[in-house]
């Protein structure tokens, strides 16, 4: 199963994936009751992609609110990308935020700390 598509709910972001393009997107708020379960599929997809493909991987994020366990899961994901990057893989993150909510910019910036792979933060639109 190379396709991962999750519809947004009130407490979880929408997730789309494109194996051929090497693109994973996440959009919305994230405060699932069971973060482990929700992020498990996403982490598995990324792990498999990094293992089975040699092509670059890009994450396109439009995340707004996150609870603590979601923050931890995202940190785990960025650690995976960092490790792949250390092994010479081409990985990158593009984090878009609504210019009316500048707080997301600061938060994304906190996430970016310790990441040496390309990590862009840009206003949407």
């Amino acid at each position: 199963m190379n396709a991962l598509h999750i519809l947004a709910t009130q407490s979880t972001p929408s997730v789309t994936s494109d194996w051929e393009q090497g693109l994973l997107t996440m959009q919305g708020d994230s405060y699932p009751e069971n973060s482990f379960e929700f992020f498990g599929d996403i982490i598995t997809w990324i792990e498999r992609y990094l293992k089975e493909s040699r092509a670059p991987l890009r994450l396109e994020l439009r995340l707004v609110y996150m609870n603590t366990s979601s923050v931890k899961a995202m940190m785990d994901i960025f650690d995976m990308l960092e490790e792949a990057h250390q092994h010479g893989r081409q990985v990158g993150v593009d984090w878009f935020y609504d210019p009316r909510n500048e707080r997301v910019l600061d938060l994304a910036d906190e996430f970016r700390e310790d990441c040496s792979f390309p990590f862009q933060i840009a206003a949407d639109g």
């Binding site: 609870n67 707080r103 938060l107 906190e110």
Partner: protein
């Protein structure tokens, strides 16, 4: 192969002396030569074993030192991660808290005049009624209605009406005492709550409110030389009375003030 442990110069000299004696053909027939040679060989073997032991022991030390270093590094890394997690999480929490405060404020405030809205007033009337009943310190209540407000809207437009409401709201607030409360009850109606105030004092405050509204100048009707006035209905909360009852009496007093010619205060 493990090296033999290093020797002190005296030990080295002794070993060389023994080696020289054992090699000397002059002592070949000495009966002590054979046991001496055996003893020397045993000593050398012992020395080599000691060397190996030290080497192995050092190896274990090295491994355990490496392990504890790795553990310390892992610990530091986890600590840093935890730190980052807490930092990011706190930021999210802060923005939620600010959002909820903004929402609470929006939920209780009238966006036009900036005064408390009907929900805000209801909360306070409920609280104040509880306090008045417990402490037997009755409050007074005034409902204020702007006279002929519909005419102002019709004649000068809704924007002018809105401006007038804002100016009136400011005038009411300025005429009140610090601990009095006022809010927009709805439309052109305002509600004034005077805690722990007997009706006779409340009337003085209400009269000050009425006069300051009457004294207001409105840019949009300057040329007409018109004034805006307001009528007020007042009621004193009776001990044990439910607040809707007090409100109803104030409302009735307002109707009386209106029918008696407006720009005046009615009391229940």
């Amino acid at each position: 192969m493990a090296e033999k442990p290093p020797l002190s110069p005296a030990e080295q000299a002794l070993i060389e002396r023994i080696e020289a004696l054992l090699a000397d053909p002059a002592h070949a027939a000495n009966p002590l030569r054979e046991p001496m040679a055996a003893l020397f060989a045993a000593s050398e073997a012992q020395r080599e074993r000691l060397g190996r032991l030290v080497h192995i022991s050092d190896g274990y030390h090295l491994i355990s030192r490496d392990q504890s270093q790795t553990l310390a590094e892992q610990y530091d890394r986890h600590l840093r991660r935890l730190d980052k997690l807490a930092r990011i999480s706190d930021r999210y929490q802060n923005s939620l808290r600010e959002l909820s405060e903004a929402l609470k404020d929006a939920a209780l405030r009238d966006p036009l005049t900036g005064l408390g809205n009907r929900r805000f007033l209801m909360e306070h009337i409920r609280d104040e009624t509880g306090r008045a009943n417990r402490k037997a310190t009755p409050y007074s209540l005034a409902i204020l209605d702007v006279d002929h407000f519909k005419h102002i809207n019709d004649r000068f437009g809704h924007e002018a009406g809105d401006t007038a409401l804002c100016q009136i709201a400011q005038a009411i607030q300025a005429a009140l005492r610090e601990y009095d409360l006022c809010g927009r009850w709805g439309g052109e109606e305002f509600l004034i709550m005077l805690p722990e105030t007997p009706l006779e004092y409340a009337l003085q405050v209400a009269e000050r409110v009425r006069l300051s509204i009457q004294a207001l100048n409105f840019a949009f009707m300057e040329q007409e030389g018109l004034r805006i006035t307001a009528s007020l209905g007042m009621a004193l909360h009776h001990p044990g009375e439910a607040y809707p009852e007090t409100l109803k009496r104030a409302d009735n007093a307002l109707l009386e003030a209106k029918s008696a010619g407006r720009n005046r205060i009615g009391t229940a």
